[in-house]
Symmetry: C2
Subunit: 364 residues, 2 copies
């Protein structure tokens, strides 16, 4: 046996199902995508992709070799999440290395590229970097947690100081989500290259301060503990390690879903620290009107302090009503804000666009 064969045998032993030559996903030139899984002994295999309606599934078809497949689309260019359900067990695609890391369950990702590189794709422009920092948290049980931090192209040169966007992920995601699924780094690279956004640092912490999946009474403490974590651990690290421009005018806070709720809560609680708030398909805090009554009832001061409040939600998002009500509330109180009511649902396909809309509004 040749060495190369030996290596293949060894390295594929955790997936020894003769799936070594199976191709999945396969993105065709017409933007249709074929998904495949080798499961000869399965009785039923179904497919879910995050462009589909929640809780729907497509049936896959088995061929004579035990390969189940389905071809869907054409799909608009994006990166989609998908999973298979094999006789009731929902799994990521076993042969696709592009995994959506999560707080608990995982799924796979498929990229349907645009003919000309879209804003979220890598273009031939200077690239920033994303630095993973590890920090023993004072706020959260002495846990060593990671924080992903984007620095713009050329950061390592010179002594320039940069404004900072704190950017939060959603429930069941990770600190890497905005990079690995959200392509936040490429979106910023491209906006900066086009001079649509100013060079900025983007700080992406891990948003589950209590363990994901905790009982509801524990989960209820997540936002306040996360707030403490941001204030006592994350911000001091950022302000001491990175060349950040000082003051609230140079700080923005934004997030998606759960992270949108967190950025609303933390942002409005600390107008002394942040001058812009972004809420993407946000889990708007249900007690917003009571908690922030003073801010709501003083539009002159609030509007003077918050340069940008940007709210975006898709028409098909299960949080649309709450976001519409939030915008209505702000409007009724004459709090200046943008409400972007867009196509789409609760997916990164939408959130990448929102970051592309929001980042250019900041720090200029």
């Amino acid at each position: 046996m040749k060495l190369y064969t030996l290596l293949l045998v060894a390295t594929s032993c955790l997936a020894q199902n003769n799936a070594d030559t199976l191709v999945s996903p396969q993105v065709h030139a017409d933007r249709k995508v074929t998904f495949r899984i080798l499961a000869p002994r399965a009785n039923e295999v179904t497919f879910f992709g995050d462009w589909m309606a929640l809780n729907t599934k497509e049936k896959m078809t088995k061929d004579g070799n035990g390969v189940w497949s389905i071809t869907l689309g054409p799909l608009p260019p994006s990166i989609y999440l998908y999973s298979f359900t094999v006789d009731g067990v929902t799994i990521a695609d076993p042969v696709n290395p592009r995994i959506k890391l999560r707080a608990r369950t995982s799924a796979s990702m498929v990229e349907v590229p645009a003919e000309h590189a879209a804003l979220w794709q890598a273009r031939d422009v200077p690239h920033g970097a994303v630095e993973i920092n590890w920090q023993k948290s004072k706020a959260i049980n002495g846990e060593t947690r990671w924080i992903w931090i984007y620095t713009p192209p050329g950061y390592e040169k010179g002594n320039r100081r940069y404004p900072v966007l704190y950017l939060f992920h959603g429930s069941n995601d990770t600190a890497g989500g905005w990079v690995l699924a959200g392509q936040a780094n490429f979106i910023l690279d491209n906006l900066i290259a086009e001079k649509k956004a100013v060079p900025m640092i983007v700080v992406m912490p891990y948003g589950h301060a209590v363990p994901f999946g905790s009982p509801r009474e524990v989960q209820a403490k997540n936002t306040s503990l996360y707030e403490e974590y941001i204030l006592k651990d994350v911000m001091p690290l950022v302000e001491s390690k990175y060349r950040v421009a000082p003051g609230r005018a140079n700080r923005a806070i934004a997030g998606l879903s759960m992270g949108g709720g967190q950025s609303i809560h933390i942002g409005f609680s600390h107008l002394d620290l942040f001058s812009a708030i972004g809420a993407f398909s946000a889990a708007v805090p249900s007690d917003f009107d009571k908690r922030f009554a003073a801010i709501l009832n003083d539009p002159k001061s609030t509007n003077a302090q918050l340069k940008t409040i940007w709210i975006g939600c898709g028409k098909d998002d299960f949080l649309i009503k709450r976001n519409q009500e939030f915008s209505e509330l702000l409007k009724s109180k004459q709090i200046r804000h943008v409400f972007a009511l867009t196509e789409g649902a609760h997916t990164y396909t939408v959130w990448r666009k929102y970051l592309g809309e929001f980042a250019p509004l900041l720090f200029q």
Copy 2:
């Protein structure tokens, strides 16, 4: 329905198998580990962990709720890779977020912590960071590839220049492997804190220059194309962006398995660039004796140039014979080197130890 419930429904929809409360893996105080998967309709579920012999499996047992489980161990402290095979389909653990990213197939990871933090665990010491850089490759088809780069604690302060270790992963791994599974960052943090290793930069590129799983005749070109990639893309980025100490005395090259073969090939081909070579369970090039005859036949010059040649391989590794032969060859030619014949097989459990042995030998 409360908002929190809504969010859970939405975010878990890709794994809607009522596995929301299932715990897997569960590491017990006695270092036994229970693995579980909910698969009520499966007929056979087996388990493989990378501490087991290759191509063996353990049968799992189904309970009345359709949960298959197995308890194994006690296991020595380490991070292990494992997978389930459900009716012939090998998959990562659907509810464990700690995924071993790979070039093709994926597996899960379980950490069995040591009573006192081991060298590969996060200790309460200053932490370095790992920066992900994206670069459009000149050598490889204009592909935008990522490179993971460790910088030691305090790198951002001052103007000190650091020596560089180029550290390569194995076949079917990714540029993140040495961090996410190998814990290279914590190993370096801990060695540096103990003053056992000098602060250094560690460069971790993606080792598949031709796509993983290519036909053998394409795969045969991987090493030479990777060499070109390292020389034309990776090293220029490192030398221009980072504060690196100049010259061959400040450069080492090492890798595991396929990456060990690459570091042998590139290291011995470029004695002008590297002064230390590490080969961990290496896929030693089969034509080494012919290709490097000049080096083998001039031990005085070779020994003067190569400060360190470190070869490590486990007794249970399928590559042990080839590594023993490699050491014998060097010995017969009076080429000075260390050959560490250790316990263990072809796993990160071994490679973490090797990095802990190798790094202290460098640059001092």
